[in-house]
Symmetry: C2
Amino acid sequence: MSQAHQARLMDGTGLARRIVEEASRRAAEVTRRTGTAPCLATVLVGEDPASVTYVRMKRNRCRKAGIESRQVSLPATTTTAELVDTLTALSADPSVHGILLQHPVGPRIDERAAFEAIAPEKDVDGVTLSSYAAMSFGLPGFLSCTPGGIMRLLDEYDVDLAGRRAVVVGRSAILGKPVGMLLLGRDATVTYCHSRTKDLPSLLREADVVVAAVGRPELIRGEDIKPGAVVVDAGYNPGNVGDVHFDSAVTRAGLITPVPGGVGPMTIATLLEQTVTGAERQLGL
Amino acid sequence: MSQAHQARLMDGTGLARRIVEEASRRAAEVTRRTGTAPCLATVLVGEDPASVTYVRMKRNRCRKAGIESRQVSLPATTTTAELVDTLTALSADPSVHGILLQHPVGPRIDERAAFEAIAPEKDVDGVTLSSYAAMSFGLPGFLSCTPGGIMRLLDEYDVDLAGRRAVVVGRSAILGKPVGMLLLGRDATVTYCHSRTKDLPSLLREADVVVAAVGRPELIRGEDIKPGAVVVDAGYNPGNVGDVHFDSAVTRAGLITPVPGGVGPMTIATLLEQTVTGAERQLGL
């Protein structure tokens, strides 16, 4: 019996470490030259345990990278107007170089209105309409962190995108839509699939690159992966399970991201890197 | 010999006429109630004959609909900074309710910088990043006129989009990209194709809805159209030729736009309608 095919793993953890090391080096240089460390403001509304954990993790990573973070914790009763005021004040505060609004912010708040209160030059999480449009048109600006991390991972593994069929499963404002636009900007032929798509498997079977970004555990199975395809799993579901059924997909794909250790670390690395970039620009370096 | 199948034509001319009649009625109401007619500023750089013709046509249509137009003609030597200043001034001028920058503006000018000088609330041609992002996320805002006109035409003919395969050929900032986002917002499964796409015919043959928006005369031929598909030809090439080879496509499609008389009139109708909407909002009606 021959050994079953196994895709090469895309090591997000290792690449993210190198990106963070470089961001850390640049952060130290910012601090040395200006006397001011890059500073990320993290804004958390309420006490959702997952959100609390995410923010804590991001702040820990900042600290290790020589990036200050300023935590702003607001009660669950915060109104949209109050949150907008907070974000507007942080946007105007010269000691803050990047702003992260941990989301989802809950049903009581108009999330879009909150995002739009973040100044584009501090939108290091890439959530504003302005950042999205810039990603769509290849203009300068901060990338949404997960899409940005995915593109970096594809580049690290020399994935050729021009003329290739890419299928993006999911169409959220900060993941599916922007990653599709970034792939289109690299000349892929991009198909957006979603909950209303009929016969997803037949679309997947034609895809050279699959980006799963829908938040449905193990929705995508190996038998639907074109042999040799590149599979990027941006899903993160309870139990460390992605949107791709890894064990079956790994026997068909050419390259695949593990969960965890694939896209996840790239998201945070992109956030830290963009925070340092924001600081460099705002401090005139 | 049986009669060859002939697709039903999507009559853009007739629908546009009805839209303009309604816009005209609303424009008269604006004028009656406020003493001020809706006003579209048309900005033309240089004397490109096609652009001169387009602007003249748009102004004529405005006049017939009871919409004032203010022509701003700038020399071909205009710089980006000068054009931005002009557009900024028009954005601040309360007697102007909509702004149309005729494009392309030529290689000497940063077109994106110029578009961004248009205030979103006067962007009745739907060219700003803000308008694009709003279209992408289903937020309120003005639509790019051709994509907006296409969606209106699809609705007029009761084209079911949810779960259908839509192929958009072309990825320009004001046509391909936004029309794809509008189709996605209506739950179509959307594929963006372009010059680097391999095997366009096989993608077209799976499409329930084809939007051709690439500016390559008769690129798409009948044999590549799925029988019964909806074919929208937004191409407009010299000699009144679209991006679709009409004579062959009409024998396969279920619905098809003629060129001329399909998408073209819808674009202008959308511009007029959005100008009146802009005036109503700015005048507090």
